[in-house]
Subunit: 209 residues, 4 copies
DNA sequence: CATGAATGAGCCTTCATTCAT
DNA sequence: AATGAATGAAGGCTCATTCAT
């Protein structure tokens, strides 16, 4: 698809010929995020990413070692964005219950919008050791954040890192189930699921958890 | 035309045997399960599966349209096996708590042993519509079983299908985390996680849930 | 297509288990003629031929060295049939003009009915030396027949073998054009073409040609 | 990943050259014409064509969807060449008889040189709908040219399109018979055949035909 | 004689990556 | 820095034919 030599007219003309490398890289990462999100890990090619960003194939490989590398970069960018958004919610403060509700809504929204990207990342992690390492690092950081959050609020105790982890896993699993259309196909109510997830999170955020 | 190159001695197995298609199919499915479990979705080829089962490539294609088809078959076989095992535990009866403990132990064991197969199936489901359909059907059946189980024991109520689903998802997510080495890499205690999962399940199995 | 192992119920039951070998062979040739005629050289497989005749694959190879061999046999049978039919017309006698008209009608009909078989044979002749030899033998015999026919009626002379050959070639080419749908696609009138072919043949059949 | 095996020195040709797609395509078509002419439809593979042109397999698929597509391109190129050559002869003018003689000589020569290519094209046309369409288009154009030629010279009448078509078919059939060695194997004199073909053509080219 | 499961060489095609321009 | 044509290993799959039963 698309690789036949046919001299595409290269769209309009407002492309960045010889711009700042950082800018080029940013465009490529953004294009990659969209492509992976839409076409999945295997459907996305370096050609496609470069083309969407307005560059030629070779340019892509000037900025990234390979397809995997951009995907990791794009995924990391997405995670950062999500955390920033959630961080803002947390800083907003309020009752655990209300905070949980806002966080769940936000998470669900972001996972739905970027479900394909996450799925692609999962698949890469399953195949590629480097990607797995990056992914685990992100998970570790996430756990740490939640941990510090809990400590701020003062906590009960027990094997709480594991409790946090399980809550996070459940949340993500539920979000993914929505994003991948699993709930619809299994005739499960989205609201009911999200209610329960919210309850779990609220519980975890409560000082006396 | 044909025997120009000596065939490798076919490795293990007893022997191909002419005239027993059902047996051949069974061997191919078993071989596929092992290969996918070890090498993953992309590392496994029809050639490899056939060779492990002691057959030639063509034989594989006499029994399955493609790689995807065997993977689905192998996964379905695995799920059946797991349910049968769990079913035996359930029939064993006993307190919810004890039953949950046995089920979780069994599930963890089977997910660890066949983590690669599950991962391969996940990846296929993400790419292949037919596989997704089969997978959802399995999930639906699983949900039904759990539902009937709950009804047998008499239950409290609420949006319980969703509650069941969430428990199942959490269980599987936790098992996968163990199987994929996620817990180890994140420095999370396996026992602590399984304790919590057991608690969740016991709760779900209790009549007054 | 069709090679998946699924234990076809083998149709009814009135098949010839262990019949006379000659009968089996005849059935296979007839089945081959139909299959090649419908599916062409590449679309036809030994499996298909055997199945249509009501036998298993292996039986086919007990009677023929390979696919090519049946095709040649089937084609030879067809040619014989055509010649016999034409021979009957010739024996019917009459004016060259009338005889030509009957022969052309008959030839057109037979070529239309068996156009696919002829096409398959052509393709085989292009690829297989043995088939080519058989085909040339048939052509030689055909030429001889026409030659003797001409001598019977007393003839003029000139380089007449070549003249005969060219008339035969033109006839067959025209018949094939009809059979393959060439005329229709080129918007050429079938009747007009056949008129001219008839004229050519009548001319060739006239004593003073 | 890629250069693990040293590539064969690419045989003849000058050099692949980056950045000249048109040139590459031309080379591939030329190589395809030679390969198909020598090895026939089934003996020719995309690999072989690419190698003969001095390129890698993948390059072939950048320019053509498949084997069929190049064959059609190569055949069309051949037809164009033939018509141009014949066109020059026609422009040369002269008596119908002399013109016919020159055209037949030229046609025979080109068909002998490219008999294998034509045969390959025939076989493709029998199997591939797209190729058949292209082939018919060429035939239609050819008919139109001959028609206009006849009109220029003023003509008698009758169902002349069909007459033209039959002459063309006979010519081609005769040329093919020479090219495929049919005449030799049937002990038919080439000169005698060509004489008759020339007479046919001269007749068709005469104003009062 | 008949069966039909098994064989496996080889074709077709893709796509991640390189490199001459 | 950017280009985009070229690369070629690696799979997927078919189908003519064999042979154990």
């Amino acid at each position: 698809m698309g690789n036949r030599i046919l001299k595409k007219p290269t769209a309009g003309s407002e492309r960045p010929k010889r711009g700042a490398p950082e800018e080029t890289r940013r465009r490529l990462v953004a294009a990659a995020a969209e492509e992976f999100n839409i076409r999945g890990l295997h459907g996305t090619t370096a050609d496609l990413i470069a083309a969407r960003a307005g560059y030629a194939t070779g340019t892509f490989y000037k900025h990234f070692r390979d397809k995997n590398e951009v995907l990791v970069a794009a995924y990391e960018a997405w995670v950062s964005e999500e955390w920033n958004a959630i961080g803002r919610e947390v800083l907003g403060g309020g009752e655990p219950e209300a905070m949980a509700r806002r966080i769940v809504a936000l998470g669900a929204e972001l996972h739905i919008r970027w479900g394909g990207l996450r799925r692609a990342m999962f698949m890469l992690v399953a195949d590629d050791a480097a990607a797995q390492k990056s992914y685990r690092a992100l998970q570790r950081r996430q756990l740490k954040i939640v941990e510090s959050l809990r400590k701020q609020r003062g906590e009960g105790g027990g094997c709480s890192r594991e409790a946090d982890a399980l809550v996070l896993m459940t949340m993500e699993r539920a979000f993914d189930a929505i994003a991948q259309g699993e709930l619809r196909e299994l005739n499960l109510g989205r609201t009911a699921i999200l209610e329960r997830v919210t309850a779990l999170l609220a519980d975890a955020l409560s000082p006396d958890a």
